[in-house]
Subunit: 371 residues, 2 copies
């Protein structure tokens, strides 16, 4: 359980709490669209891939939502899972009790999460604070894990990006779309390390035959980093910061030392990580609609709703920028970002992005895992 | 699971959160003294009363602290339990993993609880929001329950105390030491209903052979309500409110409609409730040192540290008074309370109080429980 002890060392930038203008609660409609389209896939996962032995042999069925943030999307996701399970349970003699673990960094607004839990829930709810790059649950204690829009967040930015003497020094940039290969290599290496730890921890926590749904934004297989839409979007935010540095509003050094710990993986990269881990089989791997397009395009045409898009980005990233630059720059930064997005709206057509839905099943153990 | 659905209807007056002057964190040294003296009894409970079959047959040992508030006492209590368990586990082939559930009302400051969890903990931590007068956990999922200084809080004040047409109308008072028998009867009835629900829920959640420690302040067997120190202390606070009503600072009607939902039970009353429930055996029942005396008496002599005592009371009750009267009266109320306590310090000698430590063991089922 050594991983448990160090888990809070991982960087944590929770979604903006409360219910204000820039709160995650009021700016997560994009995620909900993804969850809605994932709904049918989750149903299919449970109907087709959940073995009857797993279903009927436990008196308590335990579900975890990792990277749950503060709702309401996490409640919708859990409700979807429960509805599919309850329908499938007609095969068994007895419906078990359900226990749902909502998990996120300890800096997440659990107070809001707990006070807004659905009143008529038919499960026992618990919150679990900590990083999912370490162990969060006892061995073989979970039957279904859901993790939506979370594993694109690395445990932290690679240290060499801030090292002036390193070829991976990422000067004047906060991400990698416009960076050299060394920077991208550093991000990739961090991703590989993190996803390995993620899969290793879950392999221990999930019962044999248990399922895990991963939903994440990334890039199509073979995309060059300069064409990654998730990164292009972040780079525009970086260029706003550099504009502010030139005006003396922030120091350039502060921009140099910020690197957003997000990596846009390809489905192939996840596949390789799962195969490398060896404890899970890939049962479903499909593309979901692109949230970022849905969100940015208003009325089905090419007009981008920049205000909604920027609010959405701000809800997800505000904590990180506040932590690094202080609160006072936020309004200026995101106003400038809105203009920059309007000027560069063509990136939503030229950039490459994909939303992936992956269903993993914990293989039956042939050898005992070290715990 | 119907109880689960309505559990948030119970009144919740969390301890004051944060870490300010009147926060629970900074005013719970009295509780810590009780925990320290309970430490040896918890050890004895585990050494003498925890069956080897319970100890060695579960891969995960699950502990719950009910009414945990925000720490640090809950961490000390859990640490005590774990140390005793780990020492006893030398009898088994393998030490299991531990999962600890910190539970309190959803209005509790779980954000503070989660960010101040011990860094070097050797257990998986979770938070569970909700009232312990309903179900909080799946059936037979807990092995050890700890509940310290919490079951004296009723699920709410009896409604008839606020009914002008009832003989139990508790006019001008907020508790029962100076009230008639009808008021006391209403409190007793509420207590009986609540403790029955508490025991019924725990009987379902705790595995057969599992243990539950209850630590609570109350009165010695056979104490007349007019001699109850816990109630006398609360009545003095009520008399401060009546003074304020006479000065027009609060309305008298507001005082009439406040009744503090705390009941000082006797050990005998708990014993009868446990026997009535029938699912637990009483393994240990002992008196602990009196926190209220320790806390109120400075330097081992009769001089009462009124400031510390009032801070302690304020930390526990502020939420309730704020909710009923608004924040603006708090400073005046507790300043006046300090004077009142100084003038009436003799009640600490004349009033009767007891701190009880009770260890219950979940009996082996002879018939299946409805769940």
């Amino acid at each position: 359980m050594a991983a448990e002890q160090s888990m809070e060392l991982h960087e944590a930038y929770p979604m903006t709490g409360g219910d204000g203008l820039y709160s995650y609660v009021n700016n997560s409609s994009g995620q909900k669209a993804v969850i809605d389209s994932a709904k049918e896939l989750v149903k299919r996962a449970i109907v087709e891939k959940l073995d009857k032995e797993i279903l009927c042999s436990f008196k308590t069925f335990r579900i975890a939502d990792l990277g749950c943030s503060v709702g309401p999307n996490t409640y919708f996701a859990v409700q979807n899972i429960l509805e599919a399970l309850e329908s499938k349970y007609q095969q068994c003699h007895q419906i078990p009790e359900f226990q749902v673990f909502y998990s996120d960094h300890s800096a997440n607004d659990f107070n809001l999460l707990f006070t807004s839990l659905p009143q008529n829930r038919n499960y026992y709810a618990a919150g679990v604070p900590g990083s999912f790059y370490g162990r969060l649950f006892p061995e073989a204690s979970l039957h279904f894990v859901h993790c939506s829009y979370a594993i694109q967040w690395l445990s932290g930015a690679p240290k060499e990006l801030m090292d002036k003497s390193s070829p991976a020094w990422n000067k004047s940039r906060i991400h990698y779309a416009n960076s050299g290969d060394e920077v991208v290599r550093a991000y990739k290496a961090q991703y590989h390390k993190d996803i390995e730890q993620f899969l290793q921890a879950r392999a221990q926590e999930i019962v044999c035959g248990g399922l895990m749904v991963l939903i994440f934004p990334g890039v199509p297989n073979g995309t060059h980093h300069s064409q990654s839409l998730p990164s292009m979007i972040l780079e525009l935010l970086g260029s706003c910061l550099m504009d502010m540095a030139r005006k003396g509003i922030v120091s350039e050094e502060k921009v140099d030392t910020l690197n957003i710990p997000i990596y846009g993986m390809s489905p192939q990269e996840l596949k390789e990580a799962v195969e490398g881990n060896g404890r899970f089989s890939i049962e479903i791997m499909e593309d979901l609609p692109l949230m970022i397009h849905d969100h940015a395009v208003s009325g089905g045409q090419s007009k981008i709703d920049t205000q909604a898009f920027v609010c959405h980005m701000r809800a997800g990233l505000e904590g990180l920028f506040k932590n690094h630059f202080g609160e006072r720059i936020l309004d200026v930064l995101f106003e400038s970002y809105r203009n920059k997005i309007e000027e560069n709206s063509s990136i939503f057509m030229s950039g490459k992005a994909v939303n992936s839905f992956v269903l993993l099943k914990r293989k039956l153990s042939t050898s005992k895992l070290a715990s």
